[in-house]
Symmetry: C2
DNA sequence: TGATGTAGGACTATTCCGGTCCAAGATCGG
DNA sequence: CCGATCTTGGACCGGAATAGTCCTACATCA
């Protein structure tokens, strides 16, 4: 359905939280309660982020998680990817190449471009971009605005 | 997992097929067999596309489907949307607005931009763009290439 | 030593996707 | 006007993936 999973969502939220409250550390439980996320689930997600090197964990009382990297160097793409696994737009292409579905299936080529565009879009936004706390008229705006070249009517109306 | 469904995929393939073979009409069965898609399933998809005004159906012998619109005027976004339903990047925002998930959840804002970017990307490619039959060095290339401003290392390596 | 917190595996529930089946209604050819 | 062909549309099902729970083990600090 072309949406990212709640897990990825939670992961981003947590990372952002940690970025804002840096360099203090927060426990999984703490973050979970703050945003109304099931604690056990968030733990799992954070564990993954630790294994992937985004976070550093501290056991014991007053332990918790803290960022292991500069939030500027963590992209949404990386996070989503480590949590949800590889991203492909269509079944047509795998991570490394094309589908062998049918030779006739020529949709791939142009969609591939779209696919790459999305990846770049996600890679272009970092955790620190997300931490500017609301109404940020940051560079984000311009960055993404560039993509609005061929602008269509995106007025989104319910399907039938 | 941030990928579009097979249904949407099939829909695009079918539309492209019809665009290429225009103005001839093709039956669901015919298209299904050509691309190895389960016929019954494709029928359902095509039915939706009819209801949404992309296709026109003809009953009876030698009946089938044909485009109801100029393929240039049908965007991938529209198709995906009518088949898969509304697209949101995260649960945080619905079609019309923001989430009320938690006030604290401030990830939304920047992600919203990304979300819009993706939509524009999808809206910028039409069925006719997809019908240029392979190795099309069309405007698509440039269009999407523009999005490569802040280019990251997208070398995609397996997660752990 | 016990409270707190991470690590992580196993397990369950639920949703959604992909796909099938079947019955009904239109249309054309003969 | 009968039958083949094709769309329409609803009901249904199995499997996969998501979301979430539970329980145990281990680390750390007070």
């Amino acid at each position: 359905m072309l949406k990212l999973t709640k897990k990825a969502d939670y992961g981003l939220i947590a990372l952002k939280h940690l970025a804002v409250n840096s360099p203090a550390s927060s426990s999984a439980k703490e973050i979970a309660e703050t945003y109304g996320i099931p604690a056990a689930l968030l733990s799992k997600i954070l564990q993954k982020l630790v294994k992937s090197g985004f976070l550093r964990s501290e056991h014991g009382t007053n332990g918790g998680y803290k960022l292991a990297r500069d939030p500027k160097e963590i992209t949404a793409y990386e996070v989503i990817r480590t949590i949800d696994g590889p991203i492909f737009l269509t079944a047509c292409f795998t991570e490394h190449g094309y589908c062998v579905h049918t030779d006739k299936c020529t949709v791939r080529d142009p969609l591939q471009k779209v696919h790459e565009g999305i990846l770049r879009l996600l890679a272009s936004i970092s955790i620190s971009d997300m931490s500017v706390d609301s109404k940020a008229e940051s560079k984000m705006e311009d960055d993404v605005a560039k993509h609005a070249d061929r602008l269509y009517d995106l007025a989104i109306t319910p399907t039938m």
